[in-house]
Point group: C4
Chain length 326, copies 4
Amino acid sequence: MTRPPDEGVYRRTTEVEQQESGVLGNTKHPDGEPWAWPESTWRRIVERARAGRNLKPATWPDRAACAVALSFDADHDTIPLRDGLESPMMISQGQYGSRRGVPRIRAILERESIPATFFYPAVSALLYPSEVRALSGDGHEIGIHSWIHERNNLLPYEVERELSFRSADTLSKIAGTAPVGMRTASWDFSPNTLRIIREMGLLYDSSLMADDDPYELLEDGEPTGIVELPPEWIRDDAVYFNMARFEGLRPYTPPSAVEEIFKAEFDGAFDEGGLFVLTMHPDVIGHRSRIGILQRLITHMKARGSCWFATHAQVAEWCRQRAAPA
Amino acid sequence: MTRPPDEGVYRRTTEVEQQESGVLGNTKHPDGEPWAWPESTWRRIVERARAGRNLKPATWPDRAACAVALSFDADHDTIPLRDGLESPMMISQGQYGSRRGVPRIRAILERESIPATFFYPAVSALLYPSEVRALSGDGHEIGIHSWIHERNNLLPYEVERELSFRSADTLSKIAGTAPVGMRTASWDFSPNTLRIIREMGLLYDSSLMADDDPYELLEDGEPTGIVELPPEWIRDDAVYFNMARFEGLRPYTPPSAVEEIFKAEFDGAFDEGGLFVLTMHPDVIGHRSRIGILQRLITHMKARGSCWFATHAQVAEWCRQRAAPA
Amino acid sequence: MTRPPDEGVYRRTTEVEQQESGVLGNTKHPDGEPWAWPESTWRRIVERARAGRNLKPATWPDRAACAVALSFDADHDTIPLRDGLESPMMISQGQYGSRRGVPRIRAILERESIPATFFYPAVSALLYPSEVRALSGDGHEIGIHSWIHERNNLLPYEVERELSFRSADTLSKIAGTAPVGMRTASWDFSPNTLRIIREMGLLYDSSLMADDDPYELLEDGEPTGIVELPPEWIRDDAVYFNMARFEGLRPYTPPSAVEEIFKAEFDGAFDEGGLFVLTMHPDVIGHRSRIGILQRLITHMKARGSCWFATHAQVAEWCRQRAAPA
Amino acid sequence: MTRPPDEGVYRRTTEVEQQESGVLGNTKHPDGEPWAWPESTWRRIVERARAGRNLKPATWPDRAACAVALSFDADHDTIPLRDGLESPMMISQGQYGSRRGVPRIRAILERESIPATFFYPAVSALLYPSEVRALSGDGHEIGIHSWIHERNNLLPYEVERELSFRSADTLSKIAGTAPVGMRTASWDFSPNTLRIIREMGLLYDSSLMADDDPYELLEDGEPTGIVELPPEWIRDDAVYFNMARFEGLRPYTPPSAVEEIFKAEFDGAFDEGGLFVLTMHPDVIGHRSRIGILQRLITHMKARGSCWFATHAQVAEWCRQRAAPA
């Protein structure tokens, strides 16, 4: 951890993000064109937050066949807010997440006796504090998910760090317990995020995708003890159901096909005795035509055999304790 | 209603819309970067047109299991016109809505004895006045849907207000009765739209999406008495079937999958005893390969049990009268 | 036909096309913002090439239940060429249309004894003249489809006119008979196209979409005698199967779903006793995983009852002769 | 091969690529607007790397009904790297390809006794050299796939040539044998690529798409002896499953539909006695919900009859030896 925070990368990344929807490949990198980079450049980039030890344990609690960690990113109104958009229509779609999505999800989890993890942007928690308290009271975990769904790769180190600490503090005050894990907003894990997670003393992250099963994060080749619980766009409801008027994103995939994908991802985890991490959003999965996916998925999982349904924190703790010595 | 009209927001929103298809998140907001906003900024934005009291009534007329409000946005030629596009091909797609779409829809509604709401841009009504009169004569409701499908968020308060009043007046003259409800074009409800709706003395709006069932709109926390009948992109045929040559929008979802989605949304409404609002467009759903979706959906709804098929105005009036005191 | 050619529109349309994939709605129109246009502006725009008399005949030849006009736009290499793209990979995709697509299509049409219409950009016909002659020799119709798949809305009247006449002349020389109908490339029918079609003395156009069945085109309200055989993006294989690396266009719709759509469009035509126009491309439908759509569609059509399979010219001629007096 | 390398085309192509996601058709070509080009211009462009003799042999080894060439483009971390993107999330998606994708693929190929071809960007091979050696040791072929997944059309001749030779040399050193074939990254075969392939003395290319079966490449009309084994976007897993946050690319097509497409492409090859080339990516097909596509496809192929499963090099060699004299 002697590496200084990476200040130089954020400005360039901003430009890349800005160009990504238009022109690819012509942003100037300080080391020149990628095909002309020295080996040290690409090795440095890939080593920043690398997958290290596989932390899949020999057994799960109660000899369960696999582990299932359901998560809900309760972004609510923060998606338009983070872009400075004031459209009442977009804001109302966020409020739907709290008004309709969360109650439907909560009812299913209660009926099925399944604990889950709810990742809250701090602003979302401040808009709906009683919702956070009720979920926490139900035994669900509350995790960190940025301040206002900001994009970490657009921020310098100090700003990302301050927002991360403030977000954790805000959730602690509202939920009554300190969060132990982070999911970056839009999985926008910056070159500085791992350093900040270590400074915060967190147990786990859930943003990087180098495996299906838990692994230990390496920072510049050094083991960190941080557990990664890998998400994937494939196991994210928003990928298939988002609607953006001007970007060509549409809910083109029918719910039955999304159900097929989620079940196939779970079946792989079950067959391998591994971990199944699923990311949903109350304002996405919570709709009448989609909430059945969650219900039918749970029914399918229970029908296949014994699954350990647990919060992200519980899975991370179990895996960390059983990790073989490095 | 002492808040002055929001003049400052429209210019910025214009820029955001212009950037939305290209670069997100780098438009300057007068209060600075969203992650640096004071709490007062994001609270002001979310409170402009918030969902208040749930207006779902204890019972529907004739003890129906749920309410069904079918609507058709009869945009016809106005989609290319509002963008200043003069392509005869695009114009012909709009004429199809009147020449083929409306007759097919009207025949189904008559055969099934279902009243519906047709929202007309005023220019569309001026192009096809006999169509408007015939639908009105059939007992269908004619609702406000902008002047020429303009984008409200690109307009200052005075222009949006003048076009809204003029549109209502135009429909009154053509249909013979004054419209009582509005659906904003593209659900582009601006920060000034609620204020204008109150000035017009309308019964309801159908543009905001904070719930599935009817609710009362709050303006800056104050109850307005305006009934919101929530639409959703999910329940809109154009989302799945639109075709734009240069934007990557294509009719990727097969009709059978759209039917699956609409039925699942209805089934949720039926099971909950709630409201099902469906938005269609004569030039979209009216095609030979799609009109069957509407017919099969109606057959499915009637087979499930007693549904109250009503216009938006009838639903809004029923819910307003039965609302518990605030 | 006293209206002067529309020279003013092409420059603006160019700008609109250029902005369409980026920013919508902010191109300056000489008459100002569309919501502020005088009525004369939008009436003039919609009247340029309007649908007039319905030309669906009382009966089809041999008392067939409906008419089927299959067409193939043999663009081959012209798609990358028209954009000035020299990528050998893209060029090879065009050659596939001639090397693999046309032979597979020709074999099916011969086996099923179905005449069809092949629309050729002149450059494509010049690259593959023996293919044009062979198809013509099989009894298929050769129709006009631009010079090099240029976009008409980017051209001034004189250029569009010269390219149209030269294209017709080129096809005449190669195929040995003069073409009698036109399909504009990308259905990019400009404000001047109808005037040019009249000057060329053509029988029909197949670019505008105001109906499913044949209709007479009106120019500024005046009957032209030109028969429109309406295509639609819905009945176009490329919409579902195109692949563009940088635009987000992908073949997201599986072949079985495209087959569902085409069959449903045909079934509507059969049930109504109308016309079914289908547009395909040899380099799109000709692939091993897609050619079966055409075969199964033909099998389905023949199984439903007696269909009149005819070229576009045959359908247009039949309808024109049977049209009721204007 | 007396034509000088094409230096002039790369600058213009760069501009076209940059505009492709935004505005099409307005890049200046040195010969002017494509509709005004002299015939020599479009003939020169189409002749650069044209399909010549069909190299489909009279019989396959052991009288197999068809040939199957499975390939895996092991891009791993190079996709974000080639664009200068340093996002740890994107990098982790690449590492997944090595950590999870390759082992699953290797297990299936071993169990089914199928040799395949793995195309490696040199940087990917340098990041995972033991993986390359293990695959080579299993009997799989290692093929050239650029240095760092750079876009050839953005490079001048000398740079493309130097990177191509260096990539081949790097793979030789790691795998222990010299590669004999190339697949350009993103099938971005430049106007100079064929010349470079000839200079390298390669046996085959797998980037161009003018046929389903093998063919000989012509350079400016001259036979080259180079065997083309044609890929297609249709037979590429990434087309359907890619996910790009800002471009509107999403995994909209469910795995069962991708399986339908791949099977239909294979069935065509089987029925014709031809070649089936399939392109996959370890970080795409390797996921739990997708790897079953590969397994079920192999089961389907073996069930249909005797297939010759071979590396690209084996197929190219077989076809070259059996080619009729030119």
